[in-house]
């Protein structure tokens, strides 16, 4: 028999730059929307005579950012470190727990109700408690809040991924006399990776939110949440908005870093998210 001619797709092996270029083009519609929103925002404040301290114009926020850029960026960096720490603790713990629960289902049945209950904790109420447990001026108290927030989505998605393996894939490993550890390493974990990355991307944003919410209930004066809080209570709304902008920028950068890591890790897997 000869090999039949079939339509075989070439392996997508563009350079990274090439891919980014293609994706840059995809961003054009979103950029148009952004520019339009800023334009309408800018103009409507002038046209409708909205009080400037309530909703400052984008240009005013931008210039405020520029004059305070050193303070804002370093405050953002401080908060980002808290978020990153909480992200690492929360996600790390979630991954370990998910592995345990996937291996020993009985443990899962015993623990899962409490995991779900833990997820129902309103983080706003939880933040002051964490500040009381740990030093409110330390990064640790904010990391704890961020960790709690990251934990659940990563746990649920990882567990889902680890257990959504086709039964025949497991039978196949059994036929190779592969042990439980090998099956996890070579089948369950690779199957779970796309699920894990999805949840890690969610967790990046949650970690930033957790850190900033924590800072609202007291934190170091060098923290971004404290800065936004103090500026808005003293009616310095331009400064508060600039702070929010910086928080967003850190959050987006964090998310994109994870998305890039996902791209590099799952090179061979057909992408489902774009």
């Amino acid at each position: 028999m000869t090999t039949a001619p079939v339509a075989v797709q070439p392996i997508p092996r563009g350079t990274l730059a090439g891919r980014v270029g293609r994706r840059a083009l995809d961003w054009v519609p979103a950029l148009v929307v952004l520019v339009l929103v800023f334009l309408i925002w800018q103009e409507s404040i002038a046209v409708f005579h909205i009080k400037k301290f309530l909703a400052p114009q984008p240009t005013a926020i931008a210039s405020t950012f520029w004059t305070n850029r050193h303070e804002l960026i370093s405050a953002g960096w401080f908060t980002f470190q808290e978020a990153l720490g909480g992200f690492a603790i929360g996600c790390g713990l979630a991954l370990v727990v998910a592995l345990v629960l996937a291996r020993w289902r009985g443990v899962g049945r015993a623990l899962m109700p409490y995991m779900i209950a833990a997820n129902a904790i309103p983080i706003i109420a939880f933040a002051p408690i964490m500040n009381a447990w740990f030093d409110p001026f330390s990064k640790g108290s904010k990391m704890a809040i961020a960790a709690v927030l990251c934990f659940f989505p990563v746990l649920v998605n990882t567990l889902r991924g680890l257990t959504s393996v086709r039964p025949q894939s497991i039978e196949l490993m059994r036929s190779y006399a592969a042990g439980e550890l090998e099956t996890f390493r070579r089948v369950r974990i690779p199957t779970a990776l796309p699920f894990i990355f999805t949840s890690l991307k969610i967790a990046t944003v949650l970690a930033m939110i957790g850190a900033i919410v924590g800072e609202y209930f007291g934190g170091a004066f060098t923290a971004l949440g404290v800065l936004i809080d103090s500026r808005s209570t003293t009616f310095q709304f331009k400064e508060a908005w600039a702070g929010i902008g910086v928080a967003c920028a850190y959050g987006i950068a964090f998310y994109l870093a994870l998305a890039l890591l996902e791209r590099l890790t799952l090179r061979g897997v057909p992408s489902t998210d774009d």
Binding site: T3, A4, S169, E171, Y176, R186
Partner: protein, 266 residues
């Protein structure tokens, strides 16, 4: 020595359904045995019992003279399912080398064997492709290459071509016979297709349902090696008819359908 020795095997599932009862079968070296029967006759269950993927509730199975669990631990058989069950995140080459990695072969030996297997299934040049870049027939060839990579004495195949179109299926049949010839392995093959069973096998085991048991064993004396022309020989059609009749004899529904007609005759 028999490669597979099945003695008085029965399987009753937890709900009380008897899937298999009193199965006796011995399969010799280099045989190609097909298990054929309607859905629910337990042919896939029997295959899984031989592979120690499930345990029988009665009787014994020996593979290569060893109890089935020992044979599985010794990697005495390769298995191919209806779906190719390739790992999406591994290239063709890395899929084929997976059982070799598990058997702790070193990299150089693995690479050599993967190349050999790719030649055997005529997929040279596709080693860096990912499974989703291949057609269904090509995926199944990778799956066969993987099952044969560690040179098992026995190849278990559970409706491997069931999901393929008729044209591809006939081509894969010829391909499989060539591989069987070249690899020298013994094959147990589960199928729904009478023509496929007759064309491929040295023996066809006909099974009937509720409870699953062997109702007939038919020797296929078609000349080896078989070619596309084999399908047009009168003997091929005779054997197809024999298997079909054996299948219908074993089926309750057919007996019921046949009964009133028989009564109506004077």
């Amino acid at each position: 020595m028999s490669v597979v020795e099945i003695k008085d095997v029965g399987k009753t599932f937890e709900g009380g359904t008897t899937a298999l009862e009193g199965i006796e079968l011995a399969i010799g070296e280099r045989e190609f045995v097909s298990l054929i029967g309607p859905s629910g006759c337990g042919k896939s269950t029997l295959l899984r019992i031989v592979g120690d993927l499930i345990r029988p509730t009665a009787g014994t199975v020996r593979v290569n003279g060893k109890p089935a669990p020992q044979a599985r631990a010794d990697r005495d058989y390769g298995i191919v399912f209806q779906d190719a069950v390739l790992y999406d995140w591994r290239t063709v080459a890395r899929n084929i080398s997976l059982p070799l990695e598990l058997a702790r072969w070193n990299r150089r030996r693995r690479t050599g064997r993967v190349q050999e297997m790719l030649r055997l299934v005529e997929l040279g040049g596709f080693e860096s492709h990912y499974p989703w870049q291949l057609s269904g027939g090509m995926q199944q060839r990778v799956s066969i290459a993987r099952a044969l990579s560690f040179d098992p004495a026995l190849l278990l195949m559970d409706e491997p071509f069931g999901a393929l179109d008729e044209m591809t299926r006939e081509r894969m049949n010829l391909e499989l016979l060539r591989i069987w010839e070249a690899s020298g392995s013994t094959i147990v093959f589960v199928t729904h297709s009478i023509a496929e069973a007759v064309f491929l096998s040295t023996r066809v085991v006909v099974m009937s349902p509720r409870p699953g048991r062997i109702s007939d064993v038919i020797e296929i004396d078609l000349q080896q090696p078989r070619t596309a022309a084999t399908r047009e020989e009168p003997r091929f059609f005779e054997l197809v008819t024999r298997v079909r009749e054996a299948l219908h004899l074993g089926s309750d529904l057919d007996r019921k359908l046949a009964a009133p007609a028989a009564e109506a005759q004077p």
